[in-house]
Symmetry: C2
Subunit: 131 residues, 2 copies
């Protein structure tokens, strides 16, 4: 079998694969305090708990991991943060009840006034002050 035939026959659905998400630690500065964005989970698992914003890679919408994190943050805040940087990747068998999972985590910064009007209409997000 040559490479072309191998690729034509390759179906990644035939192999086990972990859950892969991209999450963000989005910081802002407001009222003399550094704050981080949290989102209340609307779906199972861990429904109702506060989590970092993020989600699954979309193979059709995203070309890069940065596309995923900026798309997810835009969905939540209405704007694309001007600064995004990869922090670290966390993975393991027991960190998600759905199975072996990996999350690529980014830090990001946004000016509070850039997203203030969008965010004040949303009830399931909160800026947690960093003490």
């Amino acid at each position: 079998m040559n490479e072309k035939e191998f690729l034509a026959a390759y179906d990644k659905g035939n192999f086990e694969a972990p859950l892969v998400t991209v999450d963000a630690v989005l910081f802002t500065y407001q009222d003399s305090q550094l704050k981080v964005l949290l989102v209340e989970r609307s779906n199972h698992p861990e429904q109702g708990k506060w989590a970092l914003p993020g989600g699954f890679i979309s193979e059709s919408e995203d070309k890069t991991l940065e596309d995923t994190v900026t798309r997810k943050l835009k969905e939540k805040t209405g704007v694309v943060p001007p600064y995004v940087e990869q922090l670290a990747t966390f993975g393991g068998a027991s960190r998600d009840q759905r199975g072996w999972s990996v999350t690529i985590c980014y830090t990001a910064l946004i000016a509070h006034q850039a997203c203030e009007s969008e965010l004040e209409t949303i009830s399931d997000i909160a800026w947690l002050p960093i003490e």
Copy 2:
């Protein structure tokens, strides 16, 4: 549906997921030179090309990402490197011909004498001097 029912019904095979590998930049020091381990690919795609050692997460054998990288390096060198640290994660739609892919990349260090006897019997690996 409660969380227990959600988890019982959850099948991650129903969702698209990228290829996920863990790769290593394994350094050693020999003959007054810093060197990095390369492995000649024995399978498609990119068969015959030199690559960083690594491979897919095994959901049954690995509990953490570090388990994957140390298992893969032990397969190649016969020993577990004493020092392993996460470097960065690279991902995107076009970096692997098989599809959207993510690799969590580690750096590692090993003493050359620790793996010398194992490695000299293997024809498809090479220590590339860093100029």
